[in-house]
Structures are given as C-alpha cells and as structure tokens.
Symmetry: D2
Subunit: 135 residues, 4 copies
C-alpha cells in the first residue's frame, strides 16, 4: 500500500461546498504521480521523455462521505493486478481527522505511448515498483 | 434521452494532450445542469434557493477512445431508474465528428439537502422531468 | 466588440461560494476561443495544425463585484492594439441579470509557435479578424 | 518573504503543453493558503469558522517564461503593504531547476466577511503574521 496525503484546496469545493466528485479523480491521479516519483525522473520523465503514460480505461467510485475545505484526504493506493499492459488499483480515500472513509475506487489503467495512444507492455522499472504495492 | 453538446476547452486536456479522465465527470455534470434547466430556475434555484442538490454516490466509467482539443463531445443522458431518493443515469459520450463512443458512465445520485448533506425524497417537479428521459 | 455569454458552472465557485478569481482567466480565454471560431478551423486548427497559439504575457484584472452560481457572465472583448507579434485586449465581464460590471481586464498576448514557444508575426487571417473588433 | 514550493500537476498544462496562465492564480492562492497555516486553524478556520476571507480586488501578472509538466514552481510571497482592510502582495514565481523567473504578480486582496462579501478590518492575528513577511 502507498499512502498519499492531500489537503483539500480552496478552489476544489463546488457550489454545494463539498469537493466535487470529479476532483476525486484528480486526488487519485495525484497519488499515482506521487507513487511514480520513485521511478528515475518520476512520472514527468516517463510521460514527457519516454513517451509512456497510463491512460484510464475504467474507474468506478463509491462515495460514502463528503470532503470539505479544511479536510485532508488520505489516499491509500493498492495494486490489485499487474497484467501485460494494464494495471488494476484500489484507491481508498479517508478523511484524516476522523478516519471516515469518503470514497473507494477501482481503477484500471493501461500503459500506452502518449504520442499515439496505443498500448505498450508495462516497462520493467514500473512493473518492479508496482510489485512493491500489491494488495 | 437528453443530448448535450460540449466542445472540449483548451484547458481541459492534460500533459498527454487528451481530456483528463476526471474532466469526463465535469462533462456529465454539465449535461445534468443543462437537463435541469427545464425546472423553474434551473439547477441554480434548486441548489441555492431550495437547498436541494444531487450528490453522486456512485459513478463507473468505461473509457474507449480519447477526446482531444478541437473535439466536440455529445453527452447523451438516459434515466435508468428513479427511486425514492436516488436516480440512476447512463451517460454516453460520443465524439461528434466521427460518432466514436469515447466513454460510457453509470451514475447514481441521491437528492439531498445541501446545507446538511442528508437525503430527501425526489421533489415532484424533478421526478416529472426525469420521467421524460427514462431509457 | 465581441460579446461572449458564459454561465457560471457549478464547479467554478470556491469555498467562499463565489467564482474563484483565477477562473476569470478561463472566462476570458473561452471568449477568445469563441472569437477565433471565425478563423478556418477555429482556434483548434490554429493551435494543433498550424502550431500557432497566443500565450499570455500580461494580464491585469480589477475585480468589482462577485459572480455566483446561477449568474451568467457577459464577456465583452475589445481589441485595443494590434502589433507585429502582440495583441492587446480589454475584457469587460458583466453580470447579465443586473448589468453590474464584475471585472475589467487588460490582456496582452503574443503569437507564438506552440512547439517551441517562440514568437511569430500575427498571421494575416487572424490580423483581419482582430481588426473587426478594434475598440 | 515566504517561499512555497509547488510542483506542476499533470492536469495543469493546457493544449499548448504549458501551464495555463489562469493556473498561476491557483499557485499564488495555494501559496497564501500555506502562508496562512500559521494562523490558529489556518485559512480553513479563518474562512469557514470566522467567516473571513481575502477576496482579490486586483491582480496583475507579467509572464516571462513557461512552466511545463515536470517543473517545480517556487512561489515567493512578499507583503508590500498592509492597509486597514486591504493587503498588497508581490508574488515571484521561479522555475526551481534553473532559477528562471516565470512570472511576477502584484496582488491586492481585501479582508471581507465571506457570507456577505463586505470588507472588515484585518484581524490582529493576520496583521501580525503579515508583518513578518513585509518586503
């Protein structure tokens, strides 16, 4: 498991004064960017230099409690499955102050050439890193 | 079915130059805001005056093709189920130029007091409007 | 003058329930994208095919009144100056319902190759279009 | 001076693959949120409990160099002026890797009741904190 801590930003709540559900995708992606920092050059080098990204092919969220401004979200990333060209994650978003689970996501990405959006096998260094966070 | 047309904005693509997957949530919500325009005062009056919103409790996306800057997304909203306090939608996002389906979402919201985030029965005018778009 | 109408979206207000000041930049850019639609292929073709964009080198806003969810902003774009490689705009953002001016911006952009971010002379078709909206 | 470090997020670049100019407002606001953390309860308590925010009345940016995905921005906040109900800041955004200045902003905010958007005198604790960062 990989834990990422993400305070809610002032602009991330909507007119109902709770974090907009689409922003939870940003939180999960921020967590993955943080997880990938252990790669040489991190996600920036993977995407911008090696031309490999992890576009999402599936994501399913169950929302259980709201996040508000002032809350800090803990995003716990678990790797459920490492395929040839795809990766399955479970993200659990918890409100830090009271440990209430706010959302759980199942998330499947593929490894792909960014310039052409065509899948490629998972690179070895990424595969090794993911292996450390298998559920 | 309710169709909503949404050009991709310049800022909505990410570093991979495709629309970030979380922005698809925005597109679906924009479509719902447009659908709710037929209510008296639209979604602004429902939320800001009547204090009733439709927070998301579940959303699941399958992504099939990317959207890029210059594309126009067609968001087709179908109402799958109208419960006592919850509504099920299917959103199909199609690229207008070539009619390629880019994403399909199953989306469940509840009707809730915004000031307290507690559920309430679906108001009659909203129920009637939703009935017109049942799949 | 070019007028662009832009309803405030549900996600664009911040925790203070007013449109975040940075979102006014988005509104101005959306207005420019709409203005550029009269070019062949619009701003998408200019940027993605012809590799020419209009990065901002200066923007100054005076904010006079807030925008809230439910408001519609009218963005009035005037071209103040057309240089060799730069363009000066004034954007006036008015709340549609009561005609209150919410913000005025002075905005200077340059025409630039996107792939290298180096300036180029303003293309003829863009220059002609801008000429129609000189203050 | 107060220094805030802010990596560019994957979603913050636009179709030109540089950070959209409006996102620089977010970076400056994030820096202020970080600066205000030294208040009891930080900016969340100031805004959500004490009902006092700092809406922007003026901001002027000069942009000198782009930020791209992979860059880290250093936001240096200096307090230029502390009035009765208004505060003047200068924000200097530098690219961490090569120390190139990317943007400089002059920023004026007022202290205001959030629920009514009417100005109030700067609270004593905020005034004291700002005094530590006078240019």
């Amino acid at each position: 498991m990989f834990r990422f801590e993400r305070p809610v930003r002032f602009v991330e709540v909507d007119a109902a004064r709770i974090v907009f559900f689409g922003r939870f995708c940003d939180y999960c992606h921020d967590a993955l960017e943080a997880l990938f920092e252990r790669l040489d050059g991190g996600y920036p080098r993977l995407t911008m230099v090696r031309d490999i990204g992890v576009p999402t092919v599936h994501i399913a969220f169950d929302f259980k409690a709201p996040l508000r401004y002032g809350d800090v979200a803990l995003v716990d990333v678990e790797v459920l499955r490492i395929g040839e060209r795809s990766i399955g994650f479970r993200h659990t978003l918890t409100r830090k102050a009271d440990q209430v689970v706010c959302a759980v996501a199942h998330h499947v990405v593929v490894t792909a050439r960014i310039s052409r959006i065509e899948t490629v096998p998972i690179p070895d260094d990424l595969r090794a890193l993911l292996g450390e966070h298998l559920a």
